[in-house]
């Protein structure tokens, strides 16, 4: 999350944005990242920054943490979670996590021919889509 906010901070500086209102992420269901953990980190990293505070980490040094808190004060986090879609390398079938027996299909095998190690079409995304600010 620190890297996400840093990327937005750099972009905001270049675009002249001083206040970020919305951050939109795409976090695939097989990306390895946990949306709940990201929400929690977002909350923690953007906390503080109240008007006239300007010292989010109590360091009194106008650090990056203070800057982040000011820029993101009250911002909303939206997370889109694309489902997992795969294409079988053997028979070409396109399938999703609800096809076949999802509960026992730990290796995401092809529901038609049983082959493993498919090509993943979606579900591994981990990116900042956009942010809104002024």
């Amino acid at each position: 999350m620190d890297q996400i906010l840093r990327a937005i901070r750099e972009s905001a500086a270049a675009e002249g944005v001083t206040r970020v209102k919305t951050v939109a992420l795409v976090v695939g269901r097989r990306s390895g990242a946990l949306p709940d953990a990201l929400r929690f980190a977002f909350e923690v990293l953007t906390a503080g920054g109240e008007a006239g505070d300007g010292d989010a980490d109590g360091s009194g040094d106008g650090s990056a943490a203070d800057e982040t808190a000011r820029l993101f004060r009250g911002a909303r986090l939206i997370i889109e979670e694309p489902p997992v879609r795969a294409r079988c390398r053997r028979c070409g079938l396109e399938y999703g996590e609800d096809d076949g027996d999802a509960a026992t299909n730990w290796a995401f095998l092809c529901p038609r021919c049983g082959a493993g190690a498919p090509e993943f079409i979606s579900g591994r995304e981990l990116r900042v889509e956009f942010y809104e600010g002024e």
Partner: protein, 218 residues
């Protein structure tokens, strides 16, 4: 104002890793990222490897949350070692590896081993500029590791199954382990090895030599 970024969160890391991979490519150095649970025997495997490399020159970058114990073990085998302490982080990233490599004379190497922080989860997602990821598992951990941690098995070029000298004493279904690993990644080479007794080490070293020769002939 809506600003489209569409930026991959790991892109900064991946760009650094690609640059490092190109540099190693120009120097003809094969880089291997070893990933496994704490106690699976990654450092023991490296010690055995260094004893059996023949004339090949190798160096090791050691990743741990704390201590320089592993780098000290490597140096006792006569190989250059750099210890990275992540101070809490559960994996190495490309930046840490590139910084550590500053301490090494890469042009004089054939092989660069990176021993990742003991963890089967996070290290799988971080490209360190390596040519090959190798997952180190051991029979004392149980045979369900591929099922529980598929991401690393999907991405590894080889799996070293360590501590096979203990097979008679533990409940480890070798066929199940091999079958599950093969389902996740049919291209992965599975090697049975005992770092303690040395069985399987020649095959592992031959595999490394083959990969090095393949890289240099490209």
């Amino acid at each position: 104002m809506k600003i489209k970024l569409a930026r991959d969160i790991l892109k900064a890391n991946d760009q650094l890793a690609d640059g490092f991979r190109r540099r190693l490519g120009e120097l003809g150095v094969l880089s291997v990222n070893l990933i496994g649970s704490p106690g699976s025997g990654k450092t023991s495997l490296l010690e055995r490897t260094l004893e059996n490399l023949g004339g090949l020159r190798a160096a090791v970058i050691e990743g741990d949350i704390a201590t320089a114990l592993d780098a000290e073990r490597i140096e006792r085998k006569g190989a250059p070692a750099v210890q990275v302490n992540t101070e809490g982080a559960c994996h190495l990233d490309a930046n840490m590896v590139i910084d550590a490599a500053e301490e090494l004379d890469l042009a004089r190497l054939d092989l660069l081993f990176v021993e990742n922080v003991g963890n089967l989860v996070c290290p799988a997602g971080w490209d360190l500029g390596e040519d090959l990821k190798v997952v180190v598992a051991s029979v004392t951990e149980g045979d369900e590791k591929p099922r529980k941690y598929p991401a690393i098995f999907e991405r590894a070029a080889a799996c070293v199954l360590n501590k096979v000298d203990l097979l008679p004493h533990v409940d480890f279904d070798l066929e199940r382990f091999k079958r599950d690993a093969g389902v996740l990644n049919p291209d992965m080479t599975v090697m049975l090895l005992s770092a303690k007794e040395g069985t399987g080490v020649p095959e592992w070293v031959d595999w490394l030599k083959t990969k090095l020769a393949e890289k240099r002939s490209r």
